[in-house]
Symmetry: D3
């Protein structure tokens, strides 16, 4: 429907999502996005949110781009409630940037609007640019965010924080504490916890985790998780560091001092829903059918010394709701 130019930019054509909001995470190549509120330029390491109902067109100044897009319905992204973190920390409101107002009042014959509605695409033709909005009120607008402005928190004496401590944006459900979609990042940061297994722990999650990597390596996968790749760990499927990472951690022992994780930017889309995987992905030649092998060879390091039940652990007793 859209005529694409050589570099795959959108030409004489705009898109509009009537169903929900797009969260865009570019991994290679910049995006120049024209919206009814003005222009946003985002590079890998930045993200953009294009809310439901805005018309926009994307130009690719660097040629073909690649990245990740999440779509949410019936809600919008918001900053997480910071709880005891208080007034400052994680993503700050002031670092979310909206476009400078811009419009064009121009004749554009055969201009095409593609509207996504009810999961289908519809087109309409008009004779003028849709970017002719000359005034706008309120804070419902497209915006971008530079992930390097994120201020990470974590444990600073012992133990291991939940990934939720790195939440950038959350699309909530009606149930407190249950997210339709959390956007979480794993940025450069200091590790200082003492007597602690520092890599992401082995766990099952009541949410589904879709991970991607924007640049660098990922601390829990020594091999085989490359920028532009993605993994999906469904609800209640156990997972954790690969064997190589695990054994290296064990070998290092508990006495590791401060360590700075640098040159990495991984992220997670975490949802209370079970994502349906489309045939295009399931049939992709790039699917890693040997992924499970990253855990082959995991050995138990458990010893029975001192393994009696401690007071306060689960025993016959009272269950409070």
């Amino acid at each position: 429907m859209c005529r694409y130019t050589a570099n795959k930019s959108m030409d004489n054509c705009a898109f509009c999502n009537a169903d929900g909001d797009f969260l865009i995470v570019p991994q290679t190549g910049r995006l120049w996005i024209t919206t009814e509120c003005g222009k946003l330029q985002i590079s890998p390491g930045e993200i953009a949110v294009l809310p439901q109902g805005f018309r926009f067109a994307v130009d690719l100044p660097d040629g073909p781009s690649r990245g990740y897009v999440a779509e949410v319905f019936g809600t919008h992204f918001q900053l997480p409630d910071l709880g005891p973190i208080g007034a400052n920390g994680l993503a700050a409101p002031r670092d979310f940037v909206v476009p400078t107002a811009w419009f064009e009042d121009s004749y554009r014959p055969d201009y095409v609007i593609i509207q996504k509605f009810g999961g289908e695409l519809f087109t309409a033709k008009q004779e003028f640019s849709p970017f002719n909005v000359v005034a706008w009120h309120g804070n419902y607008a497209p915006y971008k965010y530079d992930l390097t402005t994120f201020c990470p928190f974590n444990t600073v004496l012992f133990d291991h924080g939940d990934p939720s401590i790195n939440t950038v944006l959350t699309a909530p459900t009606d149930k407190p504490g249950v997210a339709l979609l959390d956007f979480v990042i794993f940025p450069p940061r200091w590790l200082v916890a003492e007597h602690t297994f520092r890599p992401p722990y082995y766990h099952r999650n009541c949410m589904s985790e879709f991970m991607g990597l924007i640049y660098g390596g990922y601390e829990a996968k020594a091999d085989g998780f490359l920028p532009g790749g993605a993994s999906l760990h469904s609800c209640m499927t156990p997972h954790g560091p690969d064997t190589k990472t695990y054994e290296a951690t064990i070998a290092r022992g508990n006495e590791a001092g401060p360590f700075r994780i640098s040159d990495t930017l991984a992220f997670m889309f975490e949802s209370c829903l079970i994502p349906r995987i489309c045939p295009w992905a399931l049939e992709s030649p790039f699917i890693d059918r040997d992924y499970y092998q990253c855990w082959i060879g995991l050995r138990s390091h458990f010893t029975h010394e001192g393994a009696s039940a401690k007071d306060g652990d689960i025993q016959n007793g009272e269950k409070e709701d």
Copy 2:
């Protein structure tokens, strides 16, 4: 299943909706509704609500009737919270009228109950009238409302109120501010706003709008929207006054004094959901395939004088959630 008499009334037969509530908006012909709580007589200009689980039968004293019916599931209609309107305004609780208690204790061989359950119809036979309820407590009951008792509010100096200012009843969702179904009317009223474009403005809506007309004309459509007709503007589809209304407004200019809109009663069912249109409607000979032409010929009256971005409009800046 029901044997209908010549005038299409329900005879020896009652209906029951086990799935949800009916909101009935007659447009021509009165309805005499017998319910387990008593009898309701409604005429065009009045509405009735028949809640989930009540058995009722409808007689048509004027012969065939015509109108609109909305059904809501999992919630009930309630008055909107009035906010700063305070204690009085819009629809008043005292104008919602329930039936006077009435019952019959009579033998009715082959009486048929039709129950709508899970979207399907089931029938059962019994030998007595279902309208044999001799006592009832509480305020879960059928009721009717006369739309002329609605007390409309609007702007009284400048600018243009949202249609929500005319909400009669709302069926809420769990999300504050998001309605499963708002029932909104456009009744006779004074227009006094100065320096303002008075007709309904051009907009896209995150809700879907189903409009109908009970009598008179509709202020935003000079032609082609007749009593008994209906229009549907889906989520994020732009719409507004037709070309004729728009040009007449422009011609009139900004200096219009007080004007009384009389002899009209339009309404809207507005929902956060996307309505699915049934084949009966899509294939109807009455469908207006030229509806879009009401906007053909719309001209831009925008001039570039003074069109710089004003302080306070959208610019690079902070986005609060």
Copy 3:
């Protein structure tokens, strides 16, 4: 997938429900349940809850067992808010018992994990027992409850309590007062209400009621409802005591003194949703196609004396929301 031994216990095999929680109501035969938190032994008259994501295996020390299982998604069971009942009554937190911690660190070749995920079953093989959890924090754990510890409340002068007064556990929805699933019991108790029709009253319910009987008889069905049986009364379908129970109650009159219902344990799964009945049940040879006959012969005992509408009953008047 699981190899079952002669008595149908699970052997070298564990199950995990990634979709939701199981509420298990055994009716005959004990269950010895091994979980990652330890072992639970339940007998008929007790219930067990196995939350989403826990691996468990079931042994049947008495041979084949029989009972009822409910599954809830997206929420967990909790105690009902007691309202004016205050600090004590119905099910007490202290009577919900979690397992004593137990683990095995053993080699188990070809051990099979069956995971229910998205309504389908998946299997995985491993070489060790899954019951190797040596520490656990928090109160997310399997638990059991002995229904004889339930402290029932009811009317103690006149009138008839709602069944909700016997709620043991509730799985809430986001809407206050609307349960995804209420687990309600009808235990032994005193009936003392004066001038009152004491059996469960005739009614239609906006929820769907699935009833079962653990032992003894059920007060509202003189015949034909046996331990291990079940009935389903869908949303808005009228139901109540059978003819025999009704006539016996009428014959007894209003002057019945205190009466102790003993030796009975019926229960109800009550849901705001409409349960879909699987073909296995619809085609069962055990389905009771004559169930409706339990109400054949019901006679009206209504007399018109004094049957005028009382002040305060429904009349033309105000409807408050």
Copy 4:
């Protein structure tokens, strides 16, 4: 200020409480109350609520009256949320009765209005009756309630319900579960709990309890608590049945069958605040300075048999918030 007639009725004079609402509990003598909404006649065994701002006058057809009055500020009385009691029980909305509209349009020279405002009394004179209100909307109105229509609930197998189970009306604070004032009654009812100490238990309360007796005797005080009397047990002061009641209960043993408490009507004002006692009460000749003696001679019946700590009772363990 008001001229009282021989029987102490208010003559040519009306009262208005600008500070809060009055809850009136007459104990002897009827009250004929004229309000701006009409007339209410209440007798002992009924209560009346006169909300903030209504003008009223009281006539005493039986001569001097006696009773109890509570005043609440900043909130109003409401029915308690019934919790699992469901739709029916305790006080029913339909039994709260408002006056039939009545007005007089008459010349009344030197009519006096006494207004309580900020804890002080102010007077104004006017020449007409204040009961000249010819129309009124809404449900903010004086009302009365007959305490015999209260439908009591309690335990019907074992154990002992909290007094809150007998709440008629509650004036809430902003904190859920904490009442500014609960109005609780102890009406005739059946006691059937088995193996249970049936009188009100010994306890300390985080609320303050003011008790009164309308007629009959009170089950926990064998002597010395007469109709028209009152007791006050402040926050955290231990109290319970008197020695005589206690020893009689012990003598009776655990095997008591159903017992009907009749001919009694006690009540309680229970508040989260500490009531300040006015000098008039502290210096009254009717104060019972020997009240504490009702507990003299209480003996311990505790035996050490089986008194080891049970699993599940308090031990070193986890405290959930």
Copy 5:
């Protein structure tokens, strides 16, 4: 403490309110306010809010100024929830203006800070200007608002809106619907309601009303309420238009067409608390001891025709809470 210059500006001195927020309503003379966030210039017809903890100094470019100040503790002013008014109306967020950042880095010997804390004034000396803040984040800042940007709503067919429809800002309490302080204005607007008594109605209020007049006349007081004056109507004290206004309204009759109220700006501070009046005000020579005379001579225009109680008005019936 502060040295005032001839025109009473604050010189080498700043004030800080540690207790709460100031809402300033100038009535004559402009205020140039320097704050730690920058400078605000306000004129009569504008308001300013100086939140708790900000240091500020005020200059008076026009010489002595006069106006009204309200102080709120423990909460802040916010926009009212608009309810059915929807997205636009009353005061718009975009019209609240914060200062452009400004600072001075200067030596100021003997500079005095006056801090209001716990209702008392404390002073401290320092050697530098307090207006040395070079960066600030967040939206906790002083702001001003031009009252002519307020978009008034009201009834546009019949009946009379509550004053709350003109709420500019509200300082809420913890109780929904109950304001610590509402700031309400009565701006120029069209009156169009038919068959309606248009002036503010006679009423008693559960809140206390402090009114002031910024310029022009006030529609309900034909005489004696001048710009710069104030009236206080305490909780439950009846009040309404003066006799002259009332008689003029009656004379005009029900058939008045559209009428534009122009050249007026009255306002109200409305609080759920009872304001304590300071001796300075009670002993002022400017107190109007004859205020009550504005209502002398009010006559009843009530006729008994048709004055029977209508169905639906208050009668014996059900009281819902």
Copy 6:
């Protein structure tokens, strides 16, 4: 009233606080506390909470003890909602320890109970030990907590966390986010933030801060703040590190690597209320009248380079509520 033994323990005497809860922070000397639920032994570095209404007696095995006590009314301490910290971090429920059940059934002539009620002390005599409670249900109990089990979080890349990140327990008000009393600690931890001023920043607080020191030094006061001391910074009074700490930080520069703060335990009681200081404290010889001198000599290190207002900082613009 209590007879104290040589080491000041309570002998034949128990205390009960009917008004509120005590939070006890010992600084020197252990406390052996006997309660109705059993015995708690706490040492400096641990805290105890004794809730409203429990009787307790304190023995001092080490002789005189010293420490801090806070009392809260109308609410109880709870764990803070962790927000994005998720499931683990700060104080864990499992580390709050309640006593093992213990009772004595003994004759104790002239035993004295001292009850604090309404801010006054009352005494009563009895002949038996009050620690005769043989059973107890629920989780309303005294408890203790070892502050070394606290798992601190903080920034791990740049910037500076709010003190609220170290909240151990909070006593909430009805207003979300506003604490009656927060108990906050400053425990040993790693500092790793880059390009950041690491000591507690200079600020004014809308809460009042009472600080104490249990052992070691406090990072923001190089001199003069000793274990057992206390400081109070009232609402909106500016404060921060002393001059010596500030200059040392500036001298160290921005390039400081990871640094472990060890051997320190400071804490804060932070309240939304203004504490009233009793004469005993104001007239103490230990009051530090030169405290303000710790800030004498603070110099400005601000340079004007680059100090223009940045886009996104406060300017004329929109204020969102």
